[in-house]
Symmetry: C2
Subunit: 252 residues, 2 copies
DNA sequence: CGTATGCTTGACCCCTGTCAAGTTTGGTGG
DNA sequence: CCACCAAACTTGACAGGGGTCAAGCATACG
């Protein structure tokens, strides 16, 4: 929850961006790359637990996640917290505060993160000169909306067990989508059970018991501060959910 | 739930669009208006209960709501339904299916609706030639995301009573935002308790009992197939929520 | 007037929350 | 290397919010 941020100078030119080399990101023209490069004003390193932006903030920075995990959340006055979604490499952070008056949610780093920082005042220029990139931003917004729809269905209508299965399957499929690793590789989702509880709208205790039954049945393994999905197929069946078949995705 | 749709020819030119005359919609240049007019291919009239679009549909039409209410929803195989959000005049419907592969949710008319139908293949042209309108679409997407965030907070972390208060206050504030009527006018929200239940993630019976206590305390009045908000201020306090202070909004 | 849709209410129970201890793990400093 | 500590994970007991079942009522409509 600490606030300090370290702002570094531009390190990596966009042509060498590690994300761009991955198979699932769409190709950009040299001209597009040069323009994106001109927007970039630096990089932000955030340690796990650090606040990236806060609800109510006016004109926050616009970032793309280069590495690490974070999450978006809102809190009620008495401290009840709802995690809205997770941000992974390639995701755009802070668009809302650039389009609307102020941020309506906060963002916190879940692991050590690297974010690419953009000059926020240039968003209108992007729309005026690079329609393809403008469309990409809309694509990202539509995708976020689609994820939120699924979360709503989950929290509103699924049982605790189904919800947990859905969330872990969802995150497992997302981490795979941002990686070129082979499908048999397993990943550790960098969460605590408190994060799971705050995402699913459950109490910590009941979340623990629910995860335990999933673990006892061999669907997942709970590690310290993390979770490993052992049988994604069965998780899908429990949650009655299919991961999206995303083609090559854009990012800015 | 019926499917038939009646597609009429273009009736109203965009310059005379009834929405456009309202105070809270932003001004458009004559050139922008002419372009929007060129996208319009007709109007859709939908009776209450009719399906506007279905989950899984490929390349659905793109609409703007001109009149009436509808809702977006998803259903699980066993029939559990989650209402994701409501669509009111000025809202864009079907963007997701135009940006991504297919629709991830369904849309149904809650009242008699009139929708403005656009030529969907021209969305890329819009981005290429009218950056201001492209930005408007992104604005609408960011606003939708913001509403979904609030719904998630509500379903995930608020009690039944708080949720109901939030939903009714939210819808009351939305209907006021699309109307030029004076603040003292009261509106009937065109819902059944089943819709409220499916939005809040509650059972019908418990929804009924919750609404009853709100009515007994003079916060709302439940009508036949509808609800009237009597004391918005107290609803806000119960839900610990403030309506957004929207300035003039765009629409296509 | 009969029928369908939507609203109400009561009884009962279960899923999930709360409370209250533990236990395990990793990090830190002596 | 060990002792200590904090954070995170577990577990059991108990309670309550909300679900389910089962009627009954009321209003609209043909």
């Amino acid at each position: 929850m600490a606030n300090p941020k370290s702002v570094g100078p531009t390190r990596i030119p966009c042509e060498q961006c590690p994300l761009r080399r991955r198979l699932n990101f769409r190709d950009f023209s040299p001209e597009e790359l040069a323009f994106i490069q001109s927007l970039k004003v630096g990089e932000l390193q955030a340690e796990a637990g650090m606040s990236i932006m806060r609800e109510g903030e006016q004109n926050p920075q616009l970032y793309t996640v280069l590495a690490g995990w974070g999450f978006r959340y809102k809190i009620l006055e008495d401290g009840r917290r709802q995690i809205l979604n997770y941000v992974l490499p390639g995701d755009l952070v802070g668009l809302q505060g650039n389009v609307m008056r102020e941020m309506q949610h906060s963002v916190e780093a879940l692991t050590k993160m690297t974010l690419c920082m953009f000059e926020r005042d240039k968003l209108p220029v992007l729309f005026q000169t690079h329609p393809s990139l403008a469309f990409d931003i809309t694509w990202l917004a539509a995708r976020e909306e689609s994820m939120l729809d699924e979360h709503l269905l989950s929290i509103g209508r699924r049982s605790a067990r189904e919800r947990a299965a859905y969330l872990l399957a969802f995150l497992d499929s997302r981490i795979r989508a941002t990686s070129d690793a082979p499908p048999e590789k397993s990943f550790a989702l960098p969460l605590t059970q408190q994060h799971v509880a705050d995402t699913l709208g459950l109490s910590l205790v009941h979340t623990n018991k629910t995860l335990r039954t999933l673990a006892d049945q061999g669907l997942i393994r709970w590690l310290d501060r993390g979770c490993e999905v052992l049988d994604a197929q069965r998780l899908y069946r429990v949650a009655e959910w299919r991961p999206p078949v995303e083609g090559r995705r854009p990012f800015i």
